[in-house]
């Protein structure tokens, strides 16, 4: 099956982006250089085409009860305009996907899901919806999405795009009428910096991208630095740190699974994991030297393979070689000495927190 293209595909080619296949889409991995793009987001402002992300609308009398049923975080009684991060789980506790839930009203929620999982997620959501008084709609084909990220994002969104966003609080959104359509502006992102994600029609997304490029105020950024940025601040990527087989507890994301909530799919499994104790966990590892631990490399203690690297880089912001890895629980404690096999050699490291660089969100 050939990859899909976003509404900005032609623009990426004009900018001579290097294109790769990601999540079923042909996406720009970099325009110039991953480190330059990464640093632009840390220090000024970058813009990402994230139109590949999926959007699902859940509407109806029982919308809130349904979202509570399929989602690990607790949206009950939340104010309109609030956004929640969490997961949808299998009954066995493995993760169907991680997602954002936008609460428009008690009867209307907007779910933002990973590109690679759109078909799987939507089928799963529809299946769970049987018996609830809700309607679901996959709106992924309609929406384009831009992520404007970095310490100067607020200024850029206000001045270049003309969208009022100063008063918008982190993890909230608002709907705005622009050029005859309703767009969604949210203060969210996947970089560890302040920033905004903007959902609109393809035409709106294209016009906004063109304004940003013409202004020179936002550097076009590819998926390459999106990954290095999210990784440094310890954010998971579905497929690496979360999978159908890995629970949010194992991923160290328990704070987004509200076990005091009355009910959600997978809750029993999480309670069981908690009671019995985890057998493995995602940890951070910092290595001596510059050798780069990459996805799939072995984590070794003595003669034994005790885990696998899920994501690793030579951190662009700190210069250190670091990774996240899924390891046996016996080796998950902070400060545990471990080794990572990189090419033919074993490199010494130590278990650390997963956050290798501090987030600078504007709360």
């Amino acid at each position: 099956m050939s990859d899909k293209r976003t509404c900005l595909y032609e623009r990426h080619l004009e900018l001579k982006a290097k294109m790769v296949s990601f999540g079923g889409f042909e996406m720009p991995i970099q325009y110039s250089d991953i480190a330059d793009e990464h640093n632009a987001v840390r220090k000024a402002c970058g813009v990402f085409d994230v139109s590949h992300m999926g959007e699902v609308l859940v509407e109806g009398r029982e919308a809130e009860r349904f979202v509570q049923h399929i989602f690990t975080n607790d949206v009950a009684g939340a104010p309109e305009g609030k956004i929640f991060y969490g997961m949808m789980l299998h009954p066995h506790g493995g993760t169907v996907d991680d997602l954002l839930v936008y609460k428009e009203s008690d009867e209307r929620f907007f779910l933002v899901i990973n590109a690679a999982n759109i078909d799987k997620d939507y089928a799963w959501i529809e299946e769970q919806a049987a018996g609830f008084d809700v309607k679901t709609e996959n709106q992924s084909e309609y929406y384009g999405q831009l992520a404007v990220q970095g310490p100067k994002a607020e200024e850029v969104v206000e001045k270049v795009l003309g969208l009022p966003c100063q008063e918008l609080v982190f993890y909230t959104f608002k709907k705005l009428d622009v050029d005859g359509e309703t767009i969604i502006l949210s203060r969210t992102g996947y970089t560890g910096e302040d920033g905004f994600e903007i959902y609109g029609s393809h035409a709106f997304t294209q016009r906004s991208w063109d304004k940003l490029m013409a202004s020179g105020e936002a550097k076009p950024c590819g998926l390459g630095c999106r990954d290095t940025l999210r990784f440094e601040v310890g954010l998971p990527l579905y497929g690496d740190e979360l999978t159908d087989d890995l629970s949010p507890l194992e991923a160290g994301l328990g704070m987004f699974a509200k076990l005091d909530k009355e009910e959600f799919i997978g809750k029993e499994a999480l309670l069981r994991q908690k009671a019995e104790g985890l057998t493995r966990k995602i940890v951070g590892i910092e290595l001596e030297g510059r050798a780069i631990p990459r996805h799939g490399y072995d984590v070794v203690v003595g003669d034994e393979v005790v885990g696998t690297v899920t994501t690793g880089y030579n951190s662009i912001s700190t210069g250190k070689s670091v990774c996240m890895a899924l390891v046996d629980i016996a080796y998950a404690k902070l400060g545990t000495p471990v080794q990572v096999r990189i090419h033919r050699k074993l490199h010494n490291g130590v278990v650390t927190k997963k956050r290798f660089y501090d987030k600078s969100y504007k709360k």
């Binding site: 390459g224 510059r290 050798a291 090419h343």
Partner: protein, 125 residues
């Protein structure tokens, strides 16, 4: 346009060897570094390691990916370019100046299997 230097021997996998007496200085070509982008790490062999023509001896890595290195010649590693440990970006600055390993050649007839500058330039087009 990538630089190709006369008098060196080249492999199809974009390594070069500069022969001086019984030694060969092995590195990656200017074309290879330009394709790779910014080099952030070079995985080098150790002194006294034996390398074999056509077999892996290390890797050069960009932010996103590791590319294996294949030795164009057989022999014993007598020196590695330790400057690359702290400044791997030297390869981007001048790939031909910044060789990766110095090898005592065990079979100089292997050089006949490699490409000359003219033939190598053709595969970079």
């Amino acid at each position: 346009m990538a630089k190709v230097i006369e008098g060196l021997y080249y492999s199809e996998s974009h390594e070069y060897v500069r022969v001086e007496g019984e030694y060969g200085y092995v590195g990656i070509t200017d074309y290879a570094q330009s394709q790779l982008g910014n080099v952030v790490y070079v995985d080098m062999p150790e002194e006294d390691d034996e390398v074999t023509a056509g077999e892996e001896f290390g890797a050069v890595e960009s932010v996103k990916a590791a590319s294996d290195l294949f030795s164009p010649v057989s022999g014993t590693v007598v020196e590695v370019n330790s400057a690359l440990e702290d400044e791997p970006e030297l390869i981007n600055q001048d790939a031909f100046e910044n060789w990766i390993m110095k090898v005592r050649l065990s079979d100089s007839s292997e050089l006949e299997n490699l490409l000359d500058a003219e033939a190598y330039a053709k595969i970079c087009e």
